[in-house]
């Protein structure tokens, strides 16, 4: 404990001496690193449209195999049975222990309000802006949520990327940091750069952010080599959550499996698995209990496999929830069925839930943001209250 106090003090001393006004309001939250009672949230954006029907396969729905003659698996050929109806893709099998402990849940057939055009970029825009349509909001919902979190100590967020992503972009300060970024300077050298930027507000702010985040990252990595794979990204995110950050976000790409999906799915599924397990392993057990990881994608993929043994852009998709304190071990979300008449436009899984409601529920649960804020500034026009299915079932 004495060590922790000392560290908090030296960090404070560092901030007041070498850093600048922009970082000052954050200082008070620094000592909270020792307060594991605070809730954390990690969002993972699965870019490229993850095929939820391939990660969590409804193998008991007899139509499934007919739509996907080469892609559909069964517990007889590698699929891992979850509940007698759904099975987990073999490339995510390392998640099974989490599932068994109730620390993992899936939400099948969710989507944003984005419909019919099926563009990655627009789909991701809606997913991240939190509105109903493309470009409706110019900032990200997770950024807007920051200003409505009642506890000021929980407002610190980090975007673990080489550049900022929309979901965390906006008026509220968010650190952007990749695992390999390192300011690596003595404080006298650093002060030259701070003076270089002091009359350019945009650069001054970027430098201030860099100084604060660099300090935390240095503590996390010490002299270890820094990589940039999912494990490194997840480790940096979780390491920051062990310190004074409460929200972290990053992306996993590679889900746009238009062709040869069986093989193409392996790498991103393994990355997602590694990311979730790394977060759990990096957090202390107590903090893992207070953490929720939500992985969401811009839309699902076509129910039918296409002519090149892949799937095309669809609508209803899958969300993944993990955390030490959730009531998991189940697939929630109403299964719409695969009957031709039940498909959206005769091709896509019919969404039975709004991914924004899921996100709102997690924000409510973790940070006690009021439903008014959630349905107002954060997700304009969203239907959400305390009776949400996503609050009751996980």
């Amino acid at each position: 404990m004495g060590m922790d106090d000392k560290m908090a003090l030296s960090r404070r001393a560092f901030l007041t001496s070498a850093c600048c006004v922009a970082a000052a309001p954050l200082m008070t939250s620094m000592t909270l690193a020792a307060a594991p009672g605070d809730k954390r949230l990690v969002t993972i954006i699965l870019r490229g449209a993850m095929d939820g029907l391939h990660l969590v396969q409804p193998y008991e729905d007899t139509a499934f195999k007919l739509y996907r003659p080469t892609l559909a698996a069964t517990p007889d050929n590698g699929l891992i049975d979850l509940d007698g109806f759904y099975g987990l893709n073999t490339y995510a099998k390392d998640l099974l222990p989490l599932w068994k402990r109730g620390e993992l849940a899936f939400v099948q057939s969710v989507s944003t309000p984005y419909r019919d055009a099926r563009s990655h970029f627009d789909g991701q825009d809606v997913l991240e802006n939190g509105g109903v349509s493309v470009g409706e909001e110019k900032t990200g919902w997770l950024n807007r949520a920051l200003s409505t979190i009642p506890s000021v100590h929980s407002r610190k967020a980090i975007d673990v990327n080489t550049s900022a992503e929309l979901v965390l972009s906006g008026d509220n300060d968010v650190e952007v940091w990749s695992p390999r970024t390192d300011l690596a300077m003595k404080s006298d050298e650093r002060s030259f750069f701070e003076r270089l930027y002091k009359n350019d507000p945009q650069f001054a702010k970027a430098m201030a952010d860099a100084a604060v985040t660099d300090f935390s990252a240095d503590e996390l990595y010490a002299d270890e080599k820094r990589g940039a794979k999912a494990a490194d990204v997840a480790r940096l995110a979780a390491g920051m959550l062990m310190q004074d950050y409460r929200i972290a976000s990053f992306s996993i790409t590679g889900w746009d499996t238009h062709a040869g999906q069986k093989a193409a799915f392996k790498a991103p599924a393994a990355e997602l698995t590694t990311a979730i397990l790394t977060i759990r392993d990096t957090l202390s057990p107590a903090v893992w209990k207070d953490t929720i990881v939500v992985a969401v994608t811009e839309f699902g993929r076509t129910v039918r496999e296409n002519g090149s043994f892949g799937t095309d852009h669809g609508t209803g998709g899958l969300a993944v929830i993990a955390g030490g304190g959730i009531d998991g071990g189940k697939v929630i979300g109403k299964w719409p069925g695969l009957d031709e008449s039940k498909l959206l436009n005769g091709r896509d899984l019919m969404p039975t839930g709004d991914v924004r409601e899921l996100a709102a529920a997690m924000l409510y649960r973790q940070f006690n943001i009021s439903p008014d804020s959630l349905t107002g500034s954060i997700f304009p026009g969203l239907d959400f209250d305390r009776s949400s299915v996503y609050l009751r079932s996980v």
Binding site: R47, V176, S178, T181, Q202, A206, A210, V212, H258, G307
Partner: protein, 497 residues
Amino acid sequence: MSLTFSTMAALRFGTGFRPGEIPPDSVEEMLGQLDAGQRETLVFPDGGLAAGRERISDTLSGLAELTLAGKDLDAVTKRADRIRYLSGLNNLLTKDEHARFMQAVFSPNGFNERLASFWLNQFSVSTRKEGFMRLLVPVYEAEAIRPHMAGRFADLVKAAVLHPAMLIYLDQVKSFGPTSPQGIKRKAGLNENLGRELLELHTLGAGSGYTQADVRNAAYVLTGMTVDRNTYRSRYAVNMAEQGARDVFGKTYGGKVREQGDIVAMIEDLAATPETRSHICRKIAHHFLSDTPPPEVVEAMTVAWKHNDGELTAVYAAMLRHPRSWEEEGQKAKLPFDYIVSGLRALSAEEKDMRDLGFAPVKQARAEPAPNGESMMPAMALDTDSRPLDPATSRLRPNPLTVSAVARLGQPLWRPSSPAGFDDGFSTWIAGGPLADRIAWARLAAAKLGGNRDPRAFLQETLRDAARQDTIDIVSKAPNRQMGLALVLASPEFNRR
């Protein structure tokens, strides 16, 4: 205009000052760079375009020999040999990437180079898509993008969209007319990917009013367009094409027989719409001028486009001749590639400073991890005579000032994370983490190439009248030369344009 013409031309529209190189002093000189650029002998792909094409045919014959030599081997060994051979392509790509930096750094035609990068980003493809793309993407930039960027926009779209690199990247090679002879035979169907991006990214623009039906019909019209895998050239395969008339954005293509002319007509029509005009003109202005470009400049550009049948030189001229294009300097942030290129130019980098670092045993020098966690193909080396070495032993190490730096700074060469290309907005690049990465680059570049330059003189010749007084003051107070040079390269003025 608060800065001199030549400073604005070099910083905003060019690749920065290089000592000894005279920057353009008029709009005419800038436009003259387009012609000069067309006459330049490109230094990439490594050894020139013909060499790049030759490597494709060499690799194809190498593969054929491998098949012949392996005819008695079992399927697993054959496949493994093939993968080893193809993974050697990583080293060839690394060579091309270094050559691409040299092209941008050494060319005196900065405006032309900037346009090449802009159009490459507008018509994005990625070397990550499949093995052969490592050879094909450099060739794509050299033969599809650069020769057409001073011509008609419609010709540029046709060259880019119908190039084998794009047909592979956006899965057109996997799209079959469902009732075409090949579609029936292979039980293969339509793939919408290229049809969608053609409308959304390449021409009309998102939210311009096209529908999902337009996307699908565009994909139908595109069926038949594919790649000859024996030459890696585009070809039209009528037995892959879906017959029948299709409506795309209000026009009908094809009748009983589908033909390649339908595709050309569709692209011509899409390129000629007002939606495309304003989408593309705005993107150009957004890239060069501001994240919120002056509407009057965009308007002047669209008018020039309309009066000149989409001749891009007229569109650039309209932008360059508009007084508002020369106001309010420094609103944009240099993209990482341009940041590095302008830094190397300022430091008078020579070829020896920008070469790859030679082969290294794989185990001691792991491949630079790709961003977003994508894994590299297994590394394998081809030596300078292009004889395959054992993939387990060596790979070409990238130069930390160029090829690996640009990935680290967030803009890996020839591999954007999506068909939309790299983001071009200020706040994406000037933020804590990205700025820390730029500072790290500035310090490395100053240490490696700074020599015994005087930081004050370096600031003067690098930024001229764009240098602000407070930057001049801090640079002159730097504790040592190296720090002074790094401060210049890290300064706001050097990062802005």
